[in-house]
Symmetry: C2
Subunit: 392 residues, 2 copies
Amino acid sequence: MQSFTFRLPTNIHFGVGAIDALGKEAASLGKRALLVYGGGSIKRNGMYDAVRSQLESVGIEIIEYPGVRPNPLLSHADEGARIAREANADLVVATGGGSVIDEAKAIAAGAHEGGALWDFYIRTRRITGALPILAVQTLPASSSETNMAGVITNDETREKFSIRSPHICPRAAFLDPSVTTTIPLQYTAYACTDILSHVMEGYFTTTDPWAPVQDGMVEGLSRAVIDSMDRLLADPADLDARAAVMWAGALAWSGLMNAGVRGASIPVHMIEHPLSAHYDIAHGAGLSIVIPAWLRYVRDRIPERIVRFGREILRLGDALDGSNTPDQADIVIAALVEWYRSIGTPVTFAQGGLTNVDVDACTAQAIALGKLWGVPGHSESDIRAVYALCTG
Amino acid sequence: MQSFTFRLPTNIHFGVGAIDALGKEAASLGKRALLVYGGGSIKRNGMYDAVRSQLESVGIEIIEYPGVRPNPLLSHADEGARIAREANADLVVATGGGSVIDEAKAIAAGAHEGGALWDFYIRTRRITGALPILAVQTLPASSSETNMAGVITNDETREKFSIRSPHICPRAAFLDPSVTTTIPLQYTAYACTDILSHVMEGYFTTTDPWAPVQDGMVEGLSRAVIDSMDRLLADPADLDARAAVMWAGALAWSGLMNAGVRGASIPVHMIEHPLSAHYDIAHGAGLSIVIPAWLRYVRDRIPERIVRFGREILRLGDALDGSNTPDQADIVIAALVEWYRSIGTPVTFAQGGLTNVDVDACTAQAIALGKLWGVPGHSESDIRAVYALCTG
């Protein structure tokens, strides 16, 4: 293990009816809330009415800011920050999935700081404060409701970069699994792929000789996600499985699972971000394409970790011979690909509808992200090789 | 899963040299610190000097309050609160194990509230505020550094009760595993027993049909504790294993591992507390006596959970026949007893030096604790039966 500082300052309200705690939390933070959301899904699942009702019950004025897209756009966030400042909003209430919460973080910082938001993403300015944020998570996957990070795509340059600051960590999160039972299975599968990626990447990149607490928690949480997704294929309304995915989604990228893991980095996210930035493919779909390709690329370097993943998480014990050779790793990668197929997520560019990927542009962006995020050991040729393996 | 609210507001500074973050945290909280500690161990392991140096470096005045005992006493906490008030302390810095931090919590609440501390333990008064607390954990086990609970023993009545309030949750915790390499193996074994108990009790008492995130994290963390203890038997200075125990110790009773687990309760702690209150046996030693007895008592009711514990945590797959019968549970209980023996913790009253246990008094106290803590399903005769099984 290496040294770390861990903070999880978010009050997490979890369970059917969790939204009932929003009014009280909001009243302690402000009087005029910018309500950030996406399209119509929160109107269909009841959260729009519930959030408005909670805010109104404590006399909070509401300024609506809808229209956040999946892979949220910088221009929309800049506009949101401008509106929040003009309206003197003193609170941001995000209601939706990770995209909505990520954009709300940008707005909350921008409303406090003024100026061009992109500066914070390319790290030429530092976030010194933000409006307080409440996060109503309706599409669990990103842990955006419990962490201090947020991603945005620059519409002009098609760069998908991130910010990170304790000021943008939500003060409270509201997680009601019953709201998620209507999420289509395809998006649930993307979510599970994202959650798994958030814990797998540290698990595969660790240089720790022995970190059993983190390994054990990652293995347990990963099995839970896989088992839950399998149950949801049989019954999409299974509330126990929806609750498990939601809780796993809140923890996976909260900082807890990788805390102290020496060498943990996120090469798969680094290689995927350019794809969803350029081609607007769902992030989870991009990940299920990149993960097997990346694993095939590193199978000679980390066969032991891949085999362990197969044994402890995919429970492939009977199919493995007990050795840690690259051949055994191949069996594990094949089983993971098969699982992605079973839940309906793509595993090649073609399956993801990516027919003409600009590898030069994507590689350049991945290299830039790798510098910002501190991802070691991935040269331009490594990244090109992974993209080449994404063709199947 | 059931509804829950989860908070972990403590800034956790973990790693060799973590204490270097104390000065800055302290400076943001106060100017006059009550430094609470126990005997001489923090003078031998360097933490006493390091804490003083950190506080002095930011100009904080220090009032020393040593003398906290294992199983800390109410009278000493009352006196500490009186001294803190007289000295106008505005910060409490606890340096030691769970006993020191638990007593520091009582002092911090008492200094704010005034009056007799015991009222908070018997719940006739409610804690409405407390001095801010910083916790330097040197004997990890209790999660006291990350949670909002604290235990104390009333010296007159020999009752060992607890308080619970968000106000007494430490603002920051400092966890340096290198400080723990000199803890004698016996106390390390007690610590591991306590950590395991904190996660096992929820695992065994759950009424959830399916909560795979929590089950998976408990299984991973439990295996980590067992493997770490086994490594420490071979090399007590193994820093990776010390770090794993320390991180597991901080998480196990933080509220995270059992969050949302329907029916989770702590009958073993309920039955153990009267023993360490009356006979001053180490809490961990009391637990390794009670746990096997309690498991034998419930083996007909929850054979499946006990077998699962054996398969997933003790890795007894080869010794089990795949069924979930009480006979199979007995194999698991025997293996757990054997593990306690291997690490040198007692598994009977006699081994723990308890030659003449007052079962009437202990049962009465356990019943009272069960009411305060909401432990269901344990009548007086159940508790007596568990004590009877503690004789071996």
